[in-house]
């Protein structure tokens, strides 16, 4: 369900598949330009292939009914997406429009001048300018410039919990750091792991770093790092974040064996739905994951809330981290820029937002609130939408906000910090020194 770079699955086969897919894409692009003479041409759009593709396909079909230039949607299987996109962007068969995560995921393409700067287009166009939640629009931009238009649902990271366990132990849902400490102590005494954590996948550990740093130092600290200043890792708030992580681990907040628990194969979610763990910090897709694995539990016992405050922190507790949404970006070499932008405008439409809602997603359009009552779970949908709408800042997941060449070492260092093979001080040093 999660349309993230780190979605489960093996990557061993990816390059083989990417090669085959490239050949296919070349073929498709060839057909496109060949048949383009009479009816005005075709543009190709790459999309991350998962359950939500049917929503984009419907949008493409209705767009093609009125447009002279047709859009051709190519669904690339999720695990192959990043590499496929990367290898085709350097080739003549590059897509005209493509799905991405904003931020660092498009940084290399911005650097190689492959993307259309949409800033002035969006500013002049009321539909695009006011159509989406401001925090979502900013989160995907780079150096203050807009390169993408939101096209899928939001995926904020939330604190999920087991309602029954909280009731049994007469605990309040944690809103402050003291609540959190009390919950940890109580659950530990009862032999329950306070927080499920899929440590072997690495990215679930990243979520803890993201929220802790946001609560301790505010979103500005990471913003500085995202803008390319590696000295930003030297901010005292980063060290405190790393130290807090160590304290949580030493206090047994994640239990003893989280290093070998995963998310992808269902390790951590099962801990939560079997009542072996009380809480789980995870992206909003956790709800649909639980609905698939343990429907009874998801409907009756699964609770959700915002990340609590951290004592002495300066960050606004209303801030959110996660994946604001996914974006469409436009290739600078496209022959049909106007068509591409016209297609992007349909993303702000009510019809499209409604289609997302019906698929169980929460659109990031500014008028989505009224549609959420038709969502499969209106309560969850509403809470999630409110959380994001009220958030002064929505920090994009670090592994997607940073370029891959910084994000991969970051994940490694965080994994070492959680495994105890590096200290908070060494973590800061290693990140500052990252090339």
């Amino acid at each position: 369900m999660r349309s993230g770079i780190f979605t489960s699955g093996t990557r061993t086969t990816r390059w083989v598949a990417a090669g085959a897919a490239m050949a296919l894409a070349g073929l498709l692009a060839g057909c496109g330009s060949g048949g383009g003479g009479a009816d005005g041409g075709t543009i190709t759009a790459y999309v991350y292939g998962d359950d939500a593709v049917k929503v984009q396909q419907a949008a493409v079909d209705s767009f093609n009914k009125t447009s002279d230039v047709k859009v051709k949607l190519v669904s690339v299987p999720g695990t192959d997406y990043v590499n496929k996109l990367r290898s085709s962007m350097g080739s003549p068969s590059a897509p005209d429009v493509f799905f991405n995560w904003g931020g660092g995921s498009i940084k290399p393409y911005v650097d190689s001048k492959d993307l259309v700067d949409l800033t002035s287009t969006v500013k002049k166009d009321a539909t695009l300018k006011d159509g989406f939640l401001p925090s979502v629009m900013t989160a995907g931009s780079l150096d203050g410039k807009i390169y993408g238009v939101p096209m899928r649902g939001m995926q904020p990271v939330m604190l999920f919990y087991n309602k029954t366990l909280f009731a049994e132990h007469k605990l309040q849902v944690p809103r402050t750091w003291e609540d959190l400490q009390k919950a940890i102590t109580t659950f530990k005494a009862a032999g329950i792991t306070p927080f499920a954590l899929g440590g072997s996948d690495k990215w679930p550990e990243l979520m803890w770093m993201e929220y802790l740093l946001d609560r301790i130092g505010g979103p500005e600290v990471f913003q500085r790092i995202q803008n390319g200043d590696t000295d930003g890792w030297g901010d005292p708030a980063v060290l405190r974040t790393a130290q807090t992580v160590r304290e949580l681990i030493d206090d047994g907040a994640f239990g003893k064996n989280f290093h070998s628990v995963d998310y992808g194969n269902g390790g951590a979610p099962t801990l939560l739905n079997k009542g072996k763990a009380a809480m789980h910090l995870m992206g909003s897709w956790e709800y649909s994951t639980q609905l698939g694995k343990a429907p009874e539990f998801a409907r009756n016992d699964l609770g959700w809330t915002a990340f609590p405050t951290v004592a002495g922190g300066v960050g606004d507790p209303a801030n959110v981290v996660g994946n604001p949404t996914n974006y469409w970006s436009v290739n600078a070499r496209t022959k049909h820029k106007d068509t591409a932008i016209a297609f992007l405008r349909t993303m702000a439409s009510k019809t499209y937002a409604q289609a997302l809602v019906d698929n169980g997603d929460i659109p990031t359009t500014s008028d989505a609130a009224s549609m959420l009552s038709t969502s499969p779970n209106p309560e969850f949908a509403n809470d999630q939408y409110q959380l994001v709408q009220k958030a002064p800042s929505f920090t994009l997941s670090w592994d997607q906000a940073l370029e891959a060449r910084y994000a991969t070492p970051l994940l490694t260092e965080i994994s070492k910090l959680f495994a105890g093979t590096t200290t908070p001080e060494k973590f800061v040093e290693a990140m500052k020194a990252a090339e």
């Binding site: 072997s200 064996n257 628990v261 991969t408």
Partner: protein
């Protein structure tokens, strides 16, 4: 005059033998072409890339020895090299004795041998990915079989979460999969040993253990070299199991060279540096095989049946 005849005949004979034994060079062309396109050329490109900075998007730019100086200073590369060496040693020490004994046993004519041999062979038929996922599920600390039986047999259920444990698991899973292959090699080797040697030994009063150490082992010397070279090169390029089971973790404690190369190349897109790691790996694996072949006397192709 008659003296010349034998010499001439000898010369003719040699020419005839030469014609029979050596097919024209043309026969090798398809093989050489295939090897060049799929091995030599990519290798040459990798070596070239190791002197470049390349993110896979723009053209590679030459940066001289930058990647190589970085390689020798990189503590992560040092750790990965050490872990690779460790994994290779553990794998060899684990697989060789078991495969040797199984192979020698399977070369015999006992009852039910064929059935058992077929069963032992099964792991080799499964895909590495399937095996890795299977063991991953078995070793899940909360829901895997290990949680139930681990404490009984003295294994911590969190074995995948500890540095040593994770490396041993990787070595074990690799061994479990490839042991049947080496068993097969040893079986073939053991079948080649002439029966007369054992008969002679029996007459001299040598028991089974003595026969094993004084006939079987020395006769299997070349088999052992072949199997060891394959094991060492295999362990050095071992990758899938690490990717699926540990992702190089906990921390970086199972990040062996091939995984480091993959992470650098296909996750960080630092393809120049990844090429340097790959080239280093090729150099190390080739040197190790050459050393092994030289010191075991395998290269000189001396027969184990001299004097027979």
């Amino acid at each position: 005059m008659p003296l010349h005849t034998p010499a001439k005949r000898h010369g003719d004979g040699r020419a005839a033998v030469g014609n029979v034994g050596r097919p024209p060079v043309g026969w090798a062309v398809p093989g050489i072409l295939f090897f060049a396109v799929f091995a030599i050329v990519p290798l040459a490109i990798a070596v070239y890339l190791s002197f470049c900075d390349w993110d896979g998007l723009d053209s590679p730019t030459l940066t001289g020895l930058d990647n190589w100086t970085r390689l020798f200073k990189d503590s992560e590369f040092g750790q990965a090299a050490w872990l690779s060496l460790l994994l290779t040693t553990i794998s060899w020490a684990f697989q060789t004795p078991v495969a040797l004994l199984l192979g020698v046993w399977a070369a015999g004519r006992q009852r039910s041998r064929a059935v058992l041999s077929a069963i032992f062979f099964i792991p080799l038929l499964l895909s590495t990915t399937a095996i890795a996922m299977l063991f991953h599920a078995l070793l899940d600390p909360n829901f895997g079989v290990i949680k139930e039986i681990g404490p009984w047999i003295g294994i911590d259920p969190n074995v995948m979460g500890s540095s040593t444990g994770a490396l041993l698991v990787v070595a074990f899973v690799g061994g479990w999969q490839f042991m049947p292959f080496h068993t097969l090699i040893y079986q073939g080797g053991a079948r080649q040993i002439p029966e007369v040697l054992y008969q002679a030994a029996s007459i001299d009063g040598a028991g089974m253990v003595r026969q094993f150490f004084h006939i079987t082992l020395p006769q299997l010397r070349h088999t052992m070299t072949t199997s060891s070279v394959l094991m060492i090169v295999g362990s050095l390029t071992y990758f899938d199991t690490v990717l699926i089971m540990t992702k190089g973790g906990p921390g970086t404690d199972t990040t062996i060279l091939p995984y480091l190369m993959y992470r650098t190349g296909f996750q960080s897109y630092d393809l120049g540096y990844a090429a340097a790691i790959a080239t280093a790996l090729v150099v190390v694996a080739t040197s190790l095989s050459l050393i092994l072949v030289r010191f075991s006397g395998f290269g000189s192709m001396r027969s184990t049946r001299e004097g027979m």
